[in-house]
């Protein structure tokens, strides 16, 4: 059943990338516990606007947990405390009346702050640009059922391919590493026969791009998988390492098998 609760928010405010930031405290409520976290921020923003203030900037779009646009650190957890949940799918029924909630942007060297809770995550696309795809031109594909894929492989590939590119893994990692993000893409493609021809170069290129974009190294802390709203498994990092080493030992020419 829905309840009405009042919350105290400590929200990070920062006018621009080079400006100093600070926490601002606001009361919001009473609001229904049926609201999502972002709907609660909508309520706050409406109140701030009407009071002549400036609303809190935050990224969001689909509000159904799939576009990967939203995300903030809530009480120390990227996307908040509920496991396997994006911020837009976190509902207020998981909070209590008079709770104090601290809301900060995702923090990482590779994610400069744009404004308030909005960060620039274009570094994630830069990692994919390095090789996160299969190079096939439109028109060149064979008949779809000519490529048989065992059910288990297809399911594992989809488990990895579920990544929504939100960056929570980077925000959760003490080193701000993007290994889970890159590992998910490398796994998805390495598990499928279609990905085999470029397998040898993909991992090395994506790892080089991560270094270049300022992401940190992986030290097997595991915070990334714990924070991932799609519960992408750490095994994908192991697979990325394996793919990387495989090329280190066998060379980029050795694409097959």
């Amino acid at each position: 059943m829905s309840r009405a609760i009042t919350l105290t928010l400590k929200v990070w405010r920062q006018a621009g990338p080079e400006q100093p930031g600070r926490f601002e405290t606001h009361q919001v409520g009473p609001v229904s516990t049926d609201l999502s976290f972002l709907e609660m921020l909508d309520v706050l923003n409406e109140e701030l606007t009407l009071a002549g203030g400036e609303p809190v900037a935050f990224d969001h779009d689909c509000r159904e947990g799939i576009c990967g646009m939203c995300g903030a650190v809530v009480n120390g957890h990227p996307h908040g405390p509920e496991p396997g949940t994006t911020l837009c799918q976190l509902h207020l029924r998981h909070f209590n009346d008079h709770d104090t909630i601290v809301i900060e942007p995702f923090r990482a060297r590779a994610f400069p702050i744009v404004k308030d809770l909005v960060v620039d995550r274009s570094s994630l696309d830069a990692v994919l640009i390095a090789g996160g795809y299969i190079s096939v031109n439109t028109g060149a594909a064979p008949e779809a059922n000519a490529i048989a894929v065992p059910v288990r492989r297809a399911e594992q590939a989809l488990d990895a391919a579920q990544c929504i590119g939100c960056g929570a893994c980077v925000a959760a990692c003490p080193n701000a590493s993007a290994m889970l993000f890159a590992g998910a893409k490398v796994s998805h493609l390495a598990l499928l026969p279609q990905g085999a021809p470029e397998r040898a170069s993909r991992a090395t290129r994506m790892v080089a791009a991560m270094d270049q974009m300022g992401f940190g190294n992986c030290t097997n802390v595991g915070e990334c998988a714990a924070a991932c709203p799609k519960q992408i498994s750490l095994a994908n990092i192991a697979r990325l390492n394996r793919e990387f080493l495989r090329t280190a030992f066998r060379g980029e020419e050795d694409g097959e098998g």
């Binding site: 606007t49 646009m69 949940t85 779809a144 059922n145 490529i147």
Partner: protein, 637 residues
């Protein structure tokens, strides 16, 4: 100007091949001399941009989000149709064509829909080659399921996240072209206007959403893949940023807008929880494969579902439509849900929902099998409502979902402005008055991967590579208009927020131009919208400045356009004095309250031409003729 759809001659099945054989071409070495603009990076935009860049054109891609991977195609759950007939259940290109035309209640073009069905198979081939992890059978082949409006299983899927996987495939193809230097990405950019020079689309004006600066971009042709306008209703299953602005600005620059009143209301969404709700969430139609829709037989029965015995449940879809049962098309399912709720048989706190019950399927196939099939949808439902649908039936309710109307395009996907193309949900072309499930992904990808590349080539071959000039007077004028509009929105400093106006507009549209429409209701809605719009420009409160990230300002521009566009939507609904597909006019119904089409007077596409802000738009008709299917009274009984 008369509408010419440019449908190629010849038998239906040969039209597209004949057309391709005669399209003019741009030679490979010359393609790099052409610059193209693609606005929107969902399935249609990303697939078009990637395919055009593969051919060698230089492409600029614009999107609102921080990455082109986030277009709202990503939220499509259920699947994508194709006529592969892998299930050996009698499917064919003709049958997919037939189902789609019939599903659209005979208000789409035969030639377009036939081409769509023909291309459907190549889409699956291409997506598999890209590594899209579709569901598989144990032998390693692709799996299929069935969807509304069809009696075969032709829907390919990747759990409940097919749109995401297809979009990530197209996104990968796009990023590959970024690496190769053929595509430049412009994320966090909003198109404010179309620039037309000497009658041809030659560029756009954008606002950089981070710096707030207006920018001019010139090109040899402009492609709009900017999605639909469902957010006019405030609450819809669209993403928060989905908007009509790009399409509406193009309309004001001479692109005619077709069938704006065709708005699909999806039957299976999570019901509204109350004030503060910002959007509605769809539960995939695929759930109706195993879920049974019911309400209590007795009006006003408020007992919890478990306490209502089998004999007192009304499985109204199965009763009324025995051959399609729970898998009737969306418009039929939505209207029937409304009918039950109007008779006070609705359930839930608001009485505006119906049950979707999986207990029978659980008993038959085992709970594990059902959870495996729909697991992520069940989780999503539980996250939002706090109720486990394996324990208690889902409550579902109709919500605005997809807009079949859009910019009028000819067979080449070109609008009435030469050089301006519209793809995917942004055009009107293939779904008539109602779209079948799993057909939007098919259409977006057919447009982007296979149709636009040759047709835009033919246009470019004809116009030549003269470099468009961003210094032209038309660019300066469009930019000045954009600057003035931003200034006006910011300077009003009234007392009501943008969302407040948007919510009010949405309620008017939902009540008067939603699932059921009447002359009186629509007329009233027209005057209400005019009042809201007048007040908006006098009393809107947009905080902040123009030269910065200002999300209130972004929304204000979009709502301002919705307030104008809504009049067009209502005018179209008023002018179409028949019921067809999603468009139910109370004056035009049979004795059993089924929609009554009027082919004698309305077997046409209505295309609206902008005149001026002071004069009403002009309505034009493109007659629809049917040779391969006979328009029948649609029956799913």
């Amino acid at each position: 100007m008369a509408l010419d759809a440019k449908i190629p001659a010849g038998p239906l099945a040969d039209k597209w091949d004949n057309h391709l054989a005669h399209c003019r071409l741009v030679a490979p070495a010359n393609r790099r001399r052409y610059e193209l603009i693609v606005v929107g990076a969902g399935l249609a935009g990303a697939s078009a941009a990637a395919s055009l860049a593969e051919l060698g054109y230089r492409v600029k891609v614009f999107c609102l989000q921080d990455s082109p991977r986030r277009g709202h195609s990503i939220a499509a759950q259920g699947g994508i149709n194709a006529a592969k007939n892998y299930c050996n259940d009698g499917d064919s290109v003709f049958r997919l064509f037939h189902d789609t035309i019939k599903g659209g209640d005979f208000r789409a073009r035969e030639a377009n829909v036939y081409r769509l069905a023909q291309l459907s198979n190549r889409i699956i081939d291409h997506c598999v080659a890209q590594g899209v992890p579709f569901a598989r059978e144990y032998g390693g082949g692709l799996a299929n399921r069935s969807f509304g409006g069809a009696q075969v299983s032709r829907t390919f899927y990747a759990r409940g996240q097919t749109g995401q996987q297809l979009l990530l495939g197209a996104h990968g193809a796009l990023l590959r072209q970024v690496k190769l230097g053929n595509v430049t990405l412009h994320p966090r950019s909003e198109m404010l206007d179309l620039v037309v020079v000497d009658g041809r689309a030659k560029g756009i004006i954008t606002r950089n959403l981070i710096s707030g600066r207006l920018e001019r971009h010139a090109a040899h042709a402009v492609v709009l893949a900017t999605g639909g306008y469902g957010n006019a209703y405030f609450l819809s299953t669209n993403a928060m940023a989905s908007n009509v602005t790009a399409a509406f600005r193009a309309y004001k620059k001479g692109a005619w807008f077709a069938n704006p009143c065709f708005v699909q209301i999806h039957p299976t969404c999570i019901p509204v929880h109350g004030v503060g709700q910002s959007k509605l969430t769809l539960m995939s139609e695929s759930l109706r494969n195993d879920g049974r829709v019911w309400v209590p037989k007795k009006p006003g029965d408020r007992r919890p579902p478990a306490e209502i015995p089998e004999a007192e449940r009304d499985y109204y879809l199965e009763e009324k439509y025995p051959s399609f049962g729970n898998l009737v098309p969306r418009d039929v399912a939505s209207r029937n849900a409304k009918e039950q709720c109007d008779r006070f048989k609705g359930v839930g706190e608001t009485g505006l929902a119906v049950y979707l019950d999986f207990s029978d399927a659980s008993r038959r196939l085992g709970k594990t099998a059902i959870v495996k099939k729909y697991g992520n949808l069940f989780e999503m439902y539980e996250k939002i409502t706090g109720v486990d649908p394996t324990v208690e039936p889902m409550q579902i309710s109709p919500a605005v979902h997809y807009t079949m109307g859009g910019l009028w395009v000819d067979y080449n996907l070109m609008t009435t402005v030469p050089g301006l193309f519209a793809l995917g949900e942004a055009n009107f072309s293939d779904h008539g008055a109602n779209r079948l499930g799993a057909s939007a992904l098919m259409q977006g990808l057919a447009d982007g991967y296979f149709i636009l590349p040759p047709t835009i080539g033919a246009y470019l071959a004809e116009t030549g590579p003269d470099r468009p000039d961003p210094g032209a007077a038309a660019f300066a004028e469009a930019e000045a208009a954009g600057t003035a509009r931003v200034a006006q929105l910011l300077s009003t400093r009234g007392k009501r927020t943008v969302d407040d106006f948007h919510r009010e507009l949405g309620l008017v549209l939902w009540d008067r131009c939603g699932m059921s429409r009447s002359e009186a209701g629509l007329t009233e809605a027209l005057s209400r919208v005019a009042e809201i719009r007048t007040e908006f420009w006098q009393n809107v409160l947009v905080p902040g400045r123009g030269e910065e990230l200002n999300q209130s300002l972004e929304r204000a521009g979009r709502v301002a356009d919705y307030l104008e566009f809504a009049e067009l939507l209502i005018a179209d609904a008023l002018a179409r004095r028949e019921s067809c597909g999603c468009h139910f006019r109370e004056e035009s119904q049979s004795e059993e309250n089924e929609a009554k089409r009027d082919d004698a007077r309305f077997a046409h596409v209505a295309a609206w031409e902008y005149a001026s802000d002071a004069t009403p738009p002009r309505r034009h008709e493109e007659p629809l003729t049917f040779t391969a299917v006979a328009p029948s009274r649609r029956s799913y009984k």
